[in-house]
Assembly symmetry: C2
């Protein structure tokens, strides 16, 4: 099984979380994940957030910072927000992010967004 | 008078705010500013957050993103959080940042932090 490194709850660093979220495409991903938090999303469900390569890049940034959990299952990967971990470490923060992220327009310049 | 550019309320971009806050030193600055929000702080009051050059760099990042207001007055500069603007644009967000920022340890590696 593919090993996808992600920090333990206590290792999640607030500055890293903020940096990972500081991107329009990644905020759009969080907005999509938040609409149906109970059900992890497969990568194919993230329509409108750019190319497969771009999505993979952005998901790795979110995963490495501890914002999302990515579970490989066969050839698919299922993504979910690490709600319990983030709420434990940074009370109120995730909800404030989601509240804004769900109202942001979808980013249009995916090429620009992945180049940073 | 020195012109210090900063975005209008409606121009503040959430991704830029998150990126500006994604740094331990800048989170420490927000934690200090939040302890006495009514009174803008002069640069000399930010003891413990590194060199004068580093502080100037970090304050410019926060100002350009729209997180803080910097008011020149003679040879001094007074810094305050843009509470009204941030609360209007991103409800609940600033308070969640402050709640965590005030409990973070002071960053020790200022040289490393300014190099990013």
């Amino acid at each position: 099984m593919t090993y996808l490194p992600q920090p333990e709850t206590e290792q999640i660093a607030f500055a890293n979380v903020l940096t990972a979220l500081g991107d329009e495409t990644r905020l759009a991903i969080i907005g999509l994940l938040a609409r149906n938090e109970e059900n992890p999303m497969s990568c194919g469900q993230f329509s409108g957030v750019g190319s497969k390569t771009g999505l993979s890049y952005h998901l790795s940034k979110l995963r490495e910072a501890g914002v999302v959990h990515v579970r490989p299952e066969g050839t698919k990967r299922y993504v979910s927000i690490r709600r319990a971990d983030l709420d434990q470490r940074f009370p109120g923060f995730l909800d404030s992010i989601i509240a804004t992220a769900q109202h942001l327009p979808m980013p249009r310049e995916e090429a620009q967004s992945t180049a940073d």
